[in-house]
């Protein structure tokens, strides 16, 4: 084993590297993630849209979830944890979109149920009049 380290590299490591690391660390602190305004706005819009669509009636738990995430995102902004705020905002938005989608499903199914029952009523009404009119039926 005849290994000899390069002298200038050893010196570089010892002196420059810590400075470089310190610089990076300072730079990292200075560039705190910015306020996730776009995500927060998008989440708020999505929650309001779901509320207006009556999601409170048809997908209450999903809407409540989205509202809670939005409130947590706002709290994270106050705590200056912008990364967490951004994630929570995105989660709130997708949650509100789910509330909206589930409300759409519930409304569509309610319309179908109504159509089914009115078709059934029509059918029964037809059968009833048929039996009334049939010879030998009620006079």
């Amino acid at each position: 084993m005849n290994f000899t380290p390069i002298p200038w590299l050893a010196r570089f490591s010892r002196l420059v590297m810590p400075a470089l690391l310190a610089g990076l660390l300072v730079a990292g602190c200075a560039s705190t993630p910015p306020l996730p305004q776009t995500s927060l706005d998008a989440a708020r819009t999505a929650v309001v849209a779901a509320e207006r669509f009556d999601a409170g009636r048809f997908a209450a738990s999903e809407l409540g979830d989205a509202r809670q995430k939005l409130a947590m995102a706002d709290a994270a902004v106050r705590d200056e944890d912008m990364e967490l705020a951004g994630r929570l905002a995105v989660e709130s938005k997708v949650g509100a979109e789910l509330a909206y989608a589930k409300t759409e499903t519930a409304k569509a199914e309610a319309i179908n149920a109504e159509m089914r029952s009115s078709a059934e009523a029509l059918r029964q009404e037809m059968q009833r009049t048929e039996s009334l009119r049939r010879p030998g039926g009620q006079q």
């Binding site: 290994f3 994630r87 789910l98 499903t105 319309i111 159509m115 078709a119 037809m126």
Partner: protein
């Protein structure tokens, strides 16, 4: 000394690499989201209902499956991605269900309009049958009217019996009678829902009060006869109108003869009672 440090470095690097390899894995929950998505994708109906949202869900699940380290930061990122993926899968499921419901709705609408069409056809057939029955009845009634030499008016069917039924100043029906009266009995028996008003009329010879009384007694005589023939008395009413409604001038014998008469008015049936009776 130097070689020792070098070996240490190599060992440390290897350990680090190995450590990384073992720590990088899909975040917890990613596999169950994948399962949920796979169930949706394998559903023959739902998988085709909302392709765009299904694709978004697939992208989100793939991102959630990305291996991450076990640092707190990575775990938070993993949980975030898994949450988003789960919501996207749920959204895809909801949208697919909505599309399915809408597709079913088109079928319901078809079924309902088919049922409506059936109902209308049935109704039309019934109406046609009722119209045919009414036409048969009308033709029959026309024959009856013709045989009675009666007249169809707004008030109903008016049958005029001449004064030949009665002797002068008498309210007794003559024996023998008009065959018209027998035909009237037949008609009233055939159409039991029709009522008849019997009106007596006179010419203007004599006291008006007396004439009214005479006309009433003659109308009553016809009514008694009809009741005697089995027509319900509640279907028949009699009125004496005296000389108030002449058909012709009272200046001539022939005019006065036309005015001395008994009219029987058979009321028109209510439209609803036609079909009821014909059943």
């Amino acid at each position: 000394m130097m070689s020792h440090r070098w070996w240490m470095g190599l060992a440390f690097s290897s350990a680090l690499l190995l450590g990384c390899a073992s720590a990088l894995q899909s975040p917890p929950g990613a596999d169950s989201v994948r399962d949920k998505l796979a169930r949706l994708q394998s559903d023959p109906v739902l998988s085709n209902a909302a392709p765009e949202s299904l694709e978004r869900a697939e992208v989100a699940v793939r991102l959630a499956e990305q291996p991450l380290g076990d640092s707190a930061e990575d775990q938070a990122l993993g949980a975030h991605r898994v949450y988003l993926a789960d919501r996207q899968v749920e959204i895809a499921m909801a949208q697919a269900s909505t599309r399915q419901a809408e597709d079913q709705r088109a079928q319901f609408a078809e079924q309902r309009s088919a049922a409506r069409l059936d109902a209308r056809t049935l109704e039309a057939n019934r109406a046609q049958a009722a119209a045919e029955r009414a036409a048969v009845e009308a033709a029959e009634l026309k024959r009856q009217i013709e045989s009675l030499k009666a007249e169809a008016t707004d008030r109903g069917l008016v049958l005029t019996l001449g004064d030949l039924l009665f002797a002068f100043d008498s309210a007794e029906l003559e024996a023998g009678l008009s065959s018209n009266l027998d035909r009237l009995v037949t008609l009233l028996k055939k159409y039991p829902t029709r009522n008849a008003v019997i009106e007596g009329h006179t010419d203007n010879i004599g006291n008006a009060e007396y004439n009214r009384d005479l006309s009433l007694r003659r109308a009553e005589a016809v009514r008694r006869y009809l009741v005697g023939q089995g027509i319900g008395s509640d279907r028949l009413s009699a009125a004496g109108l005296g000389q108030t409604q002449p058909l012709a001038g009272n200046s001539s014998d022939s005019g006065r003869q036309r005015n001395r008469r008994v009219e029987i008015i058979i009321d028109n049936p209510a439209p609803a009672s036609v079909s009821q009776r014909m059943q």
